[in-house]
Symmetry: C2
Subunit: 466 residues, 2 copies
């Protein structure tokens, strides 16, 4: 019988085999012109194996250090390790750093006067144009490193958040700080802030409009939104990781469309989407490892660190890959969850500290959690709540006088339980995965088909002007 | 009367004034061709103010989160916040990130086909050659970012070390992991691994020798050594921060020699030393802020995080600035401390968990801590110990049979107390600062004067060949 912090013999052998094969493939991709996409897949598999083992091994260490929490939706409320997302994130960051020589050409410094001066550099530009999935030239290195810096920042700040008791108001801005390196390097290294104007508006604004600093505000807003959005759709076993994996896989699917032979080559967005794939594959690797331990019934919690980290990975690929609008289409359930929550976030309706669905020990099922109105709501709010109930967007309990005494908390998880009735925790998680996939596929369809109504061309079918 | 976690009114006004003036200067340096050195000084002053305030404010938060420790060298053994180095490090990292647009030219991307492609880039190279303290071209950006990545990595791993109970054997390798980003970017971005051969050996080896992967091993060794060396010379109030500030100021002094008018311009090492200054100035800023709270009697502890972080700053400037040999000359007390400790590190002599000097509550002074020999040492070790005592490198206590029952612990702090007798904690810290300054100045003298015996020229007086 294995203890909870060791790998079984079968697991050990499977993981060793996986790592062995992946290392072999990886070593081969390093030669010649390289095969960065294959290298990235190998790296993702190795990350999976390492993260899987580390999470298992570090459980008791985390508990001893006080990084632990109680799972309230279980009959016995077991105490399990918390903040395991930090382990994932560290494995991920190491993978992306080690990946650099596989993704970028080596500049050959042929002459130096010492002191790090690059007096004569032979660049390998002649190879670049000829190949399809080539290594990147050095122009993209700063961009890649800035993405890594933002991810590392969010991990440091996320760990700080998990350790210290930071107020809600301040927490929301953590991703803004972490986005700074990416935005600053964007500023010195690329700095393009003009965007294509939708066709109906082109007669007023011209084909392009330079948004200037507004574009930086927009990028910062994306970077603040994604991590917080993931962090808000949380509270039941596996939901944070599962939704992140769905979004990552859909982004990967979108990226693949730009690389597949159906898209004409050379395409200006090829490199951006290759870039995105390199960030997403190892992310899926470490997240899958975490999900193995975090799915119902959870052996570990992921912590705010994971939510911030996952959201920041999406923000980085969306911003540096220049497809942030597409990205937001994959966040429809999260956006709905946020908008639906606003009355509680802004305290129009009382907001208890935790709004996650409530475990009913008698049935073993989750049901909606509620806000109790000790003072009945004002007539205006009561009217709005009644209206919401009419559209089945909330469930109310009234006393004999007809006053509202209870209303369900405004989260997508509670709403789903209002619609579908009480269910097991893992069933609810599966349902949410289904919702996320359905909304995401619809979003991508809108992006690539209906976008033609407001833009001249879908950029996937862009023809080179050269 | 102020509480221990707020700023006094006088402090608030002084810090606000400092920040106000610095921000004004900083804003001015952004215009035109910029004045990166002035910007860096302003940034250091702002970092000081922010770190000073944050450390004060976060004290109770850290204690509440369990990040606290007892100061054993005080009569009442007060409990004070621990790991405050993490606050410093975060302020430092933000400062270095915000500094990027002040240090690097903005590439003007004049045409893009979308998706982040840099089809036409106007580089500002015409400005670069004409000026003395110019902004860097983009060739150095990847190098700068890789240094930041290594520093962020060491902070993440350092916090992990402070939180979790990591074994001594594993701790030593933490900096090796953190060095990886820097070494990998060095590999793809610069990759020069040949070094100048000392004159006496040139007839055998030629003028240059290509060390290949050995050079990477050497850089990794420097990166492992510096953080651990700082971490080992620790244990009394203020010593970790004070030694780091001394080393940083001496490095700054060395850098300044390459920029001062006494050195012919253009000099190939100018940029490297400018680079080093940009990393060191804000480091001195945040360290000075920490020292205000950490000097005897300490209000906060710095944690392993600070020691690793400080050592890594030195490793980054030494490696990326290409003066790692000079760097090591400033670590003479640390190198001595390491070599002197080896018998205990490798358990030839028993090694208790803590070897810091012992507080004598009766006198209020620190005295040497000792290893007790429950089993007398073997004849060979006893002979060596006797020999060491003859050279006054250790103090022994023997029983009536002449067997060794106690020997002082082998750290430089204990050795100093053997030589000078018991003293107050702050006096010992001041003495160590003196030793560090004396050894460092001697090291720099050796570097710039005596190096001529083994190398053709001191590179500070290098004449441009062009």
């Amino acid at each position: 019988m294995q203890t909870s912090s060791t790998l079984t013999r079968a697991e050990t052998w499977r993981l060793l085999l996986l790592v062995g094969i992946s290392l072999g493939v990886l070593a081969n991709t390093f030669q010649g012109d390289g095969a960065p996409l294959i290298a990235s897949i190998s790296m993702a598999l190795i990350s999976f194996a390492v993260a899987f083992s580390m999470i298992r091994w570090l459980g008791p260490v985390f508990i001893k250090a006080g990084l632990k929490g109680k799972d309230m939706a279980k009959p016995r409320k077991p105490e399990i390790p918390e903040t395991m997302g930090a382990v994932c994130a560290v494995v991920y960051l190491i993978a992306l750093i080690v990946f650099i020589p596989f993704a970028f050409y080596k500049d050959i410094v042929a002459a130096t006067s010492g002191g790090g001066n690059r007096d004569v550099v032979i660049e390998d530009q002649h190879i670049e144009t000829g190949r399809y999935l080539h290594r990147f030239p050095h122009g993209k290195l700063a961009s890649y490193l800035s993405g890594l810096l933002s991810l590392q920042s969010i991990v440091i700040l996320g760990i700080g958040d998990d350790l210290l008791d930071i107020r809600w108001r301040h927490k929301v801005l953590i991703p803004a700080f972490a986005a700074v390196p990416m935005l600053i390097v964007y500023f010195v290294d690329f700095g393009v802030t003009h965007v294509v104007v939708p066709v109906p508006l082109q007669q007023y604004l011209g084909d392009f409009i330079d948004l200037g600093w507004l574009y930086y505000m927009y990028m910062a807003a994306v970077a603040i939104f994604c991590p917080n959005a993931i962090n808000m759709l949380a509270g039941i076993n596996g939901i944070e990781v599962a939704q992140s994996i769905v979004i990552a896989v859909l982004l990967l699917f979108n990226d693949a469309m730009y690389l597949a032979p159906i898209t004409p080559y050379p395409h200006p967005a090829t490199d951006s989407h290759l870039f995105s794939i390199y960030f997403l594959l190892p992310f899926i690797g470490v997240s899958a490892a975490l999900l193995c331990h975090n799915w119902y019934p959870s052996k570990v919690f992921v912590g705010d660190t994971y939510c911030y980290f996952a959201g920041m990975v999406f923000a980085v690929v969306g911003i540096l890959g220049h497809f942030s609008k597409t990205l937001l289409l994959l966040f429809v359930p999260q956006i709905f969850n946020f908008l639906y929550s606003t009355p509680q976030l802004f305290h129009v309706i009382p907001c208890p500290r935790h709004r996650l669905p409530k475990f009913n020990a008698a049935t073993g099922l989750l049901d909606t959690s509620v806000t109790e109105w000790t003072v009945p709501p004002s007539p205006l709010i009561a009217m709005v709540l009644d209206l919401l109930e009419k559209f089945r967007l909330i469930r109310l309990v009234k006393n004999k006088e007809g006053q509202i005494v209870e209303s369900t908390n405004l989260t997508i998880l509670n709403l789903w339980l209002v619609w579908m009735g009480p269910m097991r925790e893992d069933t609810l998680a599966w349902h949410m995965v289904g919702v996320q996939i359905a909304c995401g596929l619809l979003g991508l369809f809108v992006r690539h088909r209906l976008a033609l109504l407001v833009f001249n061309t879908d950029n996937r079918t862009f023809q080179s002007m050269a």
